[in-house]
């Protein structure tokens, strides 16, 4: 557990609120950071995807996940909408294509590797890291299983291993971080027969997506999902049909989720400094008042006694 100084300072200032506003706001300000420019991302082009589930299979293999109950070439899984689970980092779902009923649309679902991940801002133990390379990683050794990250993720991504008695953990796509480090590309991107899942620098992918849309406006709707949603995601999507038809949340704020709690968090040091002073003086005042009334009463009763 390496605790660097900055982290330590942050912690101390949050806890005590003592060094008050200064360090604390700077701790929060780390959220303003807009990410490493060279970070990787992915682009899924739903117009290219044919629903072969090769990505699911490849993901399962490279990440050594358990064999699924239903084989990867069985289309019956498309009858329901699935989501990533404790045994699958990614799943492909089928959607009806209203424009061309003969060609259903497939949507691959996995962690979006957000620019400022809500999961990471949720975790009380800092088990998540947004790496400079782009993938958002989770450290099982820190997690105590509160599942707040699952509450916070706007994309319903992290899954939990509810069946494990002693080692339950969060399970989610890691964008094949280790493979990236070795200079390879993620398993799903390598397996995709049409390269509808494309790996590259996020900045390049944004350009590519914009080019594709510009070149073929008939084929694509004019929106790159993930460019701005939830503060921007590492995984981008282009589609031939509106995204809400594919089950995407289209009402996400453009600010990162953590922005929603910054106001609250910044009140913490104020409470820590103002409250003791405020309630201390109220206490003093009420003590004084009490003492005063007591004296008064004694005084009165004395005088009353005299008069009698």
């Amino acid at each position: 557990m390496s605790l660097d100084r900055r982290q330590f300072l942050k912690t101390v200032s949050v806890l005590t609120g003592s060094a008050v506003l200064g360090p604390y706001t700077s701790a929060l300000a780390s959220g303003e950071f807009h990410g490493w420019p060279d970070r990787y991302g992915m682009l899924t082009d739903f117009t290219e995807c044919v629903g072969c589930r090769s990505c699911e299979k490849a993901c399962n293999e490279v990440n050594h996940l358990p064999q699924p109950e239903v084989p990867f070439d069985d289309k019956s899984v498309f009858d329901t909408q699935r989501r990533p689970t404790a045994h699958a980092y990614t799943v492909v779902n089928r959607y009806e294509n209203t424009g061309d009923p003969g060609k259903p649309i497939y949507r691959k679902v996995q962690c979006n590797h957000c620019n400022e991940p809500a999961c990471a801002s949720a975790c009380p133990i800092h088990a998540y890291t947004k790496t400079p390379e782009g993938p958002v990683l989770y450290n099982e050794n820190l997690c105590f299983g509160c599942r707040y990250c699952m509450i916070a993720c706007p994309f319903y991504v992290p899954a939990y291993d509810y069946a494990s008695a002693f080692e339950p953990r969060i399970v989610k796509c890691v964008m094949c971080y280790d493979r990236i480090r070795e200079g390879k590309i993620p398993g799903c991107a390598e397996a995709c027969p049409t390269q509808s899942v494309t790996f590259g620098k996020r900045s390049d992918l944004l350009k590519l997506a914009a080019e594709k849309i510009a070149k073929d406006p008939e084929r694509y709707i004019d929106h790159i999902y993930g460019e701005r949603e939830a503060g921007g995601t590492g995984w981008l999507y282009i589609s031939g049909v509106p995204f809400e038809q594919l089950g995407f949340s289209t009402d996400l704020p453009e600010k990162p989720m953590v922005e929603e709690v910054k106001g609250f968090l910044s009140s913490v040091p104020v409470v820590f400094t103002v409250w003791p002073a405020l309630f201390g003086s109220i206490y003093a005042a009420s003590r004084h008042h009490e003492a005063y009334t007591r004296e008064e009463m004694q005084h009165q009763s004395k005088e009353g006694g005299k008069e009698k």
Binding site: K75, G200, D204
Partner: protein, 160 residues
């Protein structure tokens, strides 16, 4: 100026020469385009450069030439051949254009290799193949409906 005239002439010649050839081939091979004669178009090709998970594809080239509208539907280096000049493949003389192809078509893999993350827009070999096939086979309903069709229609799954 001279060049343009020359090119125009060449094109006219090609058209003239190709016309009867197509008409002739109609009777035996359908309406598809044919390879320049002198170069024998392959009957079937074993596409095996990627066969890791699946068995190689036994590609019936003959049949595809008979249904494709134009070679360039698959061999897309032709219409947009910026890198490859005509003379690299053809000896362009007025009399002999028809028999002039010196080589076969450029192999897909000579441009499309492994995926390069630095060029995310450029298809790797696998995507180049599949996108080419899916131009038609998606509409034909062979792909895009059932993941099993990969092994049923084109390439059997490798055993073990």
């Amino acid at each position: 100026m001279k060049k343009i005239v020359f090119c125009l002439m060449a094109i006219c010649l090609v058209l003239l020469l190709v016309q009867p050839l197509c008409a002739g081939s109609d009777s035996n091979a359908g309406a598809g385009p044919a390879a320049p004669s002198g170069v024998s178009a392959p009957g079937t090709i074993l596409l095996d450069s990627l066969s890791r998970i699946y068995e190689p594809v036994n590609f019936n080239h003959d049949m595809h030439t008979s249904v494709a509208e134009h070679c360039s539907q698959c061999h897309h280096e032709h219409p947009s051949a910026k890198e490859v000049t005509c003379t690299e493949c053809h000896s362009i003389t007025a009399t002999d254009f028809r028999r002039s192809a010196k080589t076969g078509f450029i192999a897909c893999r000579s441009c499309h290799a492994a995926i390069d993350p630095a060029q995310p827009g450029f298809p790797g070999l696998k995507a180049a193949y599949h996108r080419t096939c899916f131009q038609c086979h998606r509409d034909m309903g062979d792909v895009g409906l059932d993941p099993l069709s990969c092994s049923m229609k084109c390439h059997a799954k490798k055993k073990g």
